[in-house]
C-alpha cells in the first residue's frame, strides 16, 4: 500500500502535487536501503544511479592506418558540462599482438591533458571491445563547449586497425550535488508498492515552481511527459562519422545523420575532422548544408573557403555550425536530419568528417 495516494478526476489545469521552492533543497530524494539512487534537484534535474544517467556513444572511426600520427579524431563536445565515464575501442577484424609495432591510443582534453591512454600491443579481437583504462578524474570532466580528441601514435611501424569504433560513456553533470548529508528516513514502508502514487484523468501529476514568482521549471504531465526547462541533462547527443568526402562525388552523397523517434528539437550542430582544413581558397571550396529531411535547411557552412567567410577546421576540434534555423529545428517522429555537399568550382576533398547533433526530446 502506498503511503501517499492521490486518486482524482477533477481539477483540470492544476497539478496534483505542487512544490514551491526557492531554496537549495532537492525536491525528491530516494534511497535504496540507505543509498541514494534518485533525486530531483531544484533545477529540475533527475539524477539517477541507474543506466538512465549513463549516455553512450558508439563512434566509428573507420580504418586506422599503421601510420596515423598526423590525425586527431574529434570525440565529443557538449553544450553542458559532462563527465566521461568509460572508453573502449573495438575493431571489425582481428589484429595480432605485436610487442614492437603497435599503436598508442590516447584520449585527451582540449588542452592536451591525458584522459586515458593505452596500447594495442596485445592485439585486438574482432567484435570484442577493449577498455582504454580508468579515465582521469581531473581531465575526464569536460566543461560546456570543451571538446576532447583521440589520437593513434605508432611505435616502430605502427599497427593498422580495421573498422575501429570508439565506445564512449558519459553523464551530463547535475548543476549541483546533493545537499543531503545526514541519514534519516522521512518516509519508509516495508511493502513493495510505490510509496507515492497518483492516478489522474485530468490533472498533471507534478509541478515544481519558484516559490516567489511562480515560474514552473519541472512538470510531469498527465501522460507522464517530463518537461524540465532548465535541466542540463535534458540534452542528448548523436554523432555521425561521415568519413571522407571527395569533391568529385559530393553531389550524389546525402548522409542521413539522425532519425527522430517522437518529437525532438535540434539545438546545436557541430562539425569536426581528424585533419585540419584551412579556409584558403575563394575559388574552390565545399558547402555543407544540414537539412530537415532533404529540403528544409537548418544550417549551412562553407569549408576550404571562401577566405573571408569559410570555416577553418582544426583537427580534433568540434566547431559550431552556427545558429540553427529555428522554424526547421522541430522534428516530428520519423523526420530525418540529412547532410548535403556542394562543390564550388573544383570543390574540396575533406578527410574524416564528424557531425555532432545536440537535441532534446519533447514528447
Amino acid at each position: 500500500m502506498a503511503i501517499l495516494t492521490f486518486d482524482d478526476d477533477k481539477g483540470a489545469g492544476d497539478p496534483v502535487l505542487e512544490v514551491l521552492n526557492d531554496h537549495g533543497n532537492d525536491i525528491f530524494l530516494f534511497k535504496k536501503s540507505g543509498t541514494e539512487v534518485f533525486r530531483l534537484n531544484k533545477y529540475g534535474e533527475m539524477v539517477s544511479t541507474s543506466g538512465w544517467d549513463h549516455r553512450v556513444l558508439n563512434i566509428p572511426l573507420g580504418d586506422i592506418a599503421a601510420d596515423s600520427d598526423a590525425f586527431r579524431y574529434p570525440v565529443i563536445i557538449s553544450n553542458k558540462k559532462i563527465t566521461l565515464l568509460t572508453a573502449y575501442i573495438s575493431v571489425d577484424t582481428t589484429v595480432a599482438a605485436s610487442a614492437t609495432a603497435y599503436q598508442t591510443v590516447a584520449l585527451a582534453d582540449a588542452d592536451g591533458n591525458s584522459i586515458v591512454s593505452t596500447t594495442t600491443a596485445a592485439g585486438l579481437t574482432a567484435k570484442t571491445p577493449v577498455s582504454l583504462g580508468t579515465l582521469s578524474t581531473a581531465h575526464g570532466i569536460l566543461n560546456a563547449e570543451e571538446a576532447c580528441y583521440l589520437t593513434f601514435t605508432k611505435t616502430l611501424t605502427g599497427m593498422a586497425l580495421s573498422g575501429c569504433v570508439l565506445h564512449l560513456e558519459y553523464a551530463v553533470d547535475a548543476t549541483e550535488t546533493s545537499a543531503i548529508t545526514a541519514e534519516e528516513q522521512v518516509i519508509n514502508s516495508l511493502d513493495t508498492n510505490g510509496q507515492i502514487t497518483s492516478d489522474q484523468t485530468v490533472r498533471d501529476h507534478l509541478s515544481i515552481k519558484n516559490k516567489d514568482d511562480g515560474t514552473e521549471y519541472f512538470n510531469v504531465s498527465l501522460d507522464g511527459i517530463v518537461e524540465a526547462v532548465n535541466a542540463a541533462n535534458r540534452f542528448h547527443i548523436a554523432i555521425n562519422s561521415a568519413g571522407a568526402i571527395t569533391a568529385a562525388s559530393d553531389d550524389t552523397k546525402v548522409i542521413t545523420a539522425f532519425r527522430a523517434n517522437g518529437a525532438v528539437q535540434i539545438d546545436k550542430i557541430y562539425i569536426g575532422s581528424y585533419a585540419s582544413e584551412a579556409a584558403d581558397s575563394d575559388a574552390d571550396y565545399e558547402t555543407i548544408d544540414i537539412k530537415k529531411n532533404a529540403s528544409n535547411k537548418l544550417a549551412s557552412i562553407s569549408v576550404g573557403g571562401p577566405v573571408a567567410s569559410g570555416l577553418a577546421l582544426t583537427y580534433g576540434v568540434y566547431v559550431s555550425m552556427g545558429t540553427i534555423e529555428e522554424k526547421e529545428a522541430l522534428l516530428a517522429s520519423g523526420d530525418r536530419i540529412t547532410i548535403h555537399f556542394t562543390a564550388t568550382s573544383s570543390g574540396e576533398n575533406l578527410a574524416g568528417l564528424f557531425f555532432l547533433i545536440v537535441y532534446r526530446k519533447l514528447d
Binding site: F30, F38, V165, V186, Q195, D199, D223, R259
Partner: protein, 175 residues
C-alpha cells in the same frame, strides 16, 4: 481549484520529500489506472512516452561487395538495455538488386541473432527514410550490462557495395 497538495519550502537543506526503502517503486503516476511514469527501486525514471527511448546513429562507412569477414561492434553499453528498433540508411543511392545483395545481421555477444535483413531493395538518399530491419528477437534484443551487439554481412552471389552504411539504433535503458 488548486493543487491537491502543495509543499512550500524556503528554508533548510534537506530534501522536501525523502523516501528510503528496500524494494518496489518510489513514485508511480497513472493516467486513468494506466501507469505513465515511475521511479523504480534502482532510481530509474520510466515513462511510457517517447522520452523513454535513447537513440544512436552509427555510420560504419563504406561496405565493399564482399564484406563477409568484418564484424563491427555497433552497440556497447555498460548498463542493461533493450534494443527497440534498428534502421538502415546509406549515403549514396542504392539500386534494387534481387540477385546480388548483402544480408545484414545484428547479433548479441553470444552470436545469437537479434535481427537480420536481406537488403535487396533500392534506397533513394533524398526521399527514403531509414529502412527498418524488422522485428527484433524478443529474447536476444535484451542486452545485459556490458554486453555488446555487432553486425555481420553475408553476400549473395557477388554481393553489393553500400556507401556510408549507417545503423540507426533505438533502445531503452533497463533497471
Amino acid at each position: 481549484m488548486g493543487a491537491v497538495m502543495t509543499l512550500r519550502s524556503g528554508k533548510g537543506s534537506r530534501a522536501i520529500v525523502e523516501v528510503n526503502k528496500d524494494s518496489g517503486d518510489f513514485l508511480v503516476f497513472y493516467k486513468d489506472t494506466v501507469e505513465v511514469f515511475s521511479v523504480d527501486i534502482n532510481g530509474l525514471p520510466d515513462t511510457t512516452c517517447n522520452q523513454q527511448y535513447f537513440y544512436e546513429s552509427v555510420n560504419i562507412g563504406d561496405i565493399v561487395a564482399d564484406s563477409d569477414a568484418i564484424t563491427p561492434v555497433i552497440f556497447f553499453k555498460q548498463q542493461a538495455a533493450t534494443l527497440v528498433g534498428i534502421y538502415l540508411s546509406c549515403d549514396e543511392d542504392k539500386a534494387l538488386d534481387a540477385a546480388n545483395y548483402q544480408t545484414i545481421a545484428v547479433l548479441d555477444e553470444s552470436a545469437n541473432s537479434i535481427v537480420s535483413l536481406a537488403w535487396t531493395a533500392a534506397f533513394d538518399v533524398d526521399t527514403d527514410v531509414p529502412l527498418t530491419m524488422g522485428s527484433l528477437s524478443g529474447t536476444h534484443k535484451i542486452l545485459t550490462a556490458g554486453e555488446h551487439a555487432y553486425a555481420t554481412f553475408t553476400k549473395t552471389l557477388n554481393g553489393q557495395a553500400i556507401s556510408g552504411l549507417t545503423f540507426h539504433i533505438l533502445y531503452t535503458v533497463e533497471s
